[in-house]
Amino acid sequence: MKLSGAKAIVEALKREKVEVIFGIPGGSTIPFYDALYESDLRHVLARHEQCAAHMADGYARVKGVPGVCTATSGPGATNLVTGIAVAYMDSSPIIAITGQVPRSMIGKDAFQEADIVGITTPITKYAFQVTSASQIPDAIRTAFLLASTNRRGPVLVDVPKDVQLEEVDPDYPERIMIKGYVIRSGDPHPYSIKKALGLIMSSERPLIIAGGGVIASNCSEELVKFAELILAPVATTLMGKGAIPENHPLSLGMVGMHGRGEANKAVEEADLIIAVGMRFGDRTTGKLDEFARNSKIIHIDIDPAEIGKNIRVDVPIVADAKKALSILHSKLLEVGSKRTESEWIKRINSLKESFASNYTERGDGLKPSRLMKILRDCIPAKSIITTGVGQNQMWAALHFRVLEPRTFITSGGLGAMGFGLPAAIGAKVASPDRPVFNIDGDGSFLMTEQDLATAVSEALPVISIILKNRALGMVRQWQCLFCNKRYAHTDLGNVPDFVKLAEAYGAEGIRIESYESFESAVKKSLKAEMPVVMEIQISPDEKVLPMVPPGKGLKEVIWYG
């Protein structure tokens, strides 16, 4: 049956079991939107394409399936770029479908023409253009296959307007072969498992560092079982938060530049680090030469290019984290290797106790750390947290204890301010029954604030908690600590009244002036039917501590600013 290329795309998306698309229409996607008009695919109209991409990303991270966003050619497509880069850095599967000027006008600098395939090639798993309608079925299948297999990531499909209009009799493939792309079984090589077992059994002080790969591979259960078997404490990267319930006795919290004292100390004292689904990013390791100097390293990752990229490891295991951890677990059981007590765990527990007092709040005003603890105590374990980027994000990472995987959604690798609100919207679409909180800063929130209009229009009750310090707080903190308090352009000056701003959008605005009012507002917001914005004034001098200065080793930590 003949149909337009645009309809063929919609049909292909339905075959991929897509339920929702986030986007904004424009000149080059009018045919695609015309096809959407008569389909039952849900469309969430964003107010800025960057947000459409973040929404698709938030959706993907909560659901574990690709999120789809769309934009028109030129400025629509370039606005997606930040969102695509976020997904790339955090290995999140999103599909971006962009309109393009008609084929005959490509390369002529036509109105709203931008080389989006060229622009996004370095920040996608793959970006390509469809040059005839007959390619559409394969193209969409390819995009979903690439985005959702091996190490996941964003894929961009660019569709010229005349291709959307071209008539085609589409032939949808069940399977597709991509010559240069092998879907990995994820099975670890027996030799590396054998070597790893040797290191694990001879280790006295094993430490697990879990990254985003544990979440992507849905193997929290396997991770915890493995950790319990070998009695290894578990630290996580920022992306790994949720890999282990952070109230578990073996949980150490986040490691790295803003890692918890006990986690960073454990890295220093461990004799074996088992790195699972993490990439030794600079914010995790600090100065590489000084990272884990006393320890052997086992590195489990699905992407062979991650092995040896940043750090030399003793045993690489190229595998799906779930498979690798289950095999290690069962092999250890086979040889009857199970620890019941260890000096190491006693040491870890004493570290936790000795650092506990460092986290207590000092001074006047509302303290982010206490707010995070109150929030945790007031909301169900399954609630989803998204964050902005900067101090707000690090306070959340340090002090908000995540209890379930896929409930802490943050822009880790790229660190894109403005991520919190649109990611929360995507998360809420993915999981309407769960409360979704966006922990944000005023600077970060203002970057994508216009999409409150989307949340209101779609009646999505996402709750934004804005820690308002009237400053670009993280940069200000660095200026305080490393630039002799020369606060160059980090004072935001006239910051809007977020209560009135929320009301202007048709959301509910609440000004929080005490811990008690915060607690009651959070509890009340669990029943909200429309978006809520809480404004909480905090001091601009409030810092994220501890902190390892950039370029320093993890032990050179600053506790007091």
């Binding site: 060229g118 090639t121 370095p122 793959y126 240069g180 792309y181 290019a305 092995i307 040896g308």
Partner: protein
């Protein structure tokens, strides 16, 4: 010198994907060539670079993640044959010097492919060291123009890079 040979899909934009990755990750290559292969639909990209084994390994691993790269491997210079073509235009107005140049061409097994009253254009095929040595000699006469293709290489023996 490290030689990397990649079989890639023969379609528009693939060379861009490869060079974009090389630039983005800060690899520094010396030569890159692309051409057809024995298999329809596949092109062969040959790159050379200097540097640590670990850098080369990382480049190979990163390039192999591009879906258009069907196969990629490092060819050890000792286990492969490799050649480069250079075309060299040398200033030769003086008949005495011209005969010197012709002698050198014979020694280096090059060929004259164009001549004018004032110049000779020479074709020189071989490994890059030989071409460099010949060029050093020609500098004394005056090199007017130089074009080099970069290296192409095949593994020694009967195996093909596209197998397996």
């Amino acid at each position: 010198m490290h030689i990397i040979a990649a079989l890639v899909e023969d379609r528009p934009g693939v060379m861009f994907k490869v060079t974009s990755l090389i630039r983005r990750r800060g690899f520094n290559i010396d030569t890159i060539t692309v051409g057809s292969t024995e298999k329809e639909g596949l092109s062969r990209i040959t790159m050379t670079m200097r540097g640590d084994e670990s850098v080369v390994e990382q480049l190979v691993k990163q390039l192999s993640k591009i879906p258009d790269v069907v196969k990629i491997s490092e060819l050890k210079p000792s286990e492969s044959v490799y050649r480069e073509l250079a075309m060299i235009k040398v200033s030769a107005p003086d008949p005495a010097k011209r005969s010197d140049i012709l002698n050198y061409i014979t020694i280096f097994r090059g060929r004259v492919i164009d001549a004018s009253k004032d110049s000779l254009t020479i074709e020189m095929v071989g490994n890059p060291k030989k071409i460099n040595a010949f060029l050093d000699l020609m500098k004394g006469f005056g090199v007017v123009e130089l074009a080099r293709t970069g290296i192409v290489a095949l593994s020694r023996g009967s195996r093909s890079t596209s197998e397996g």
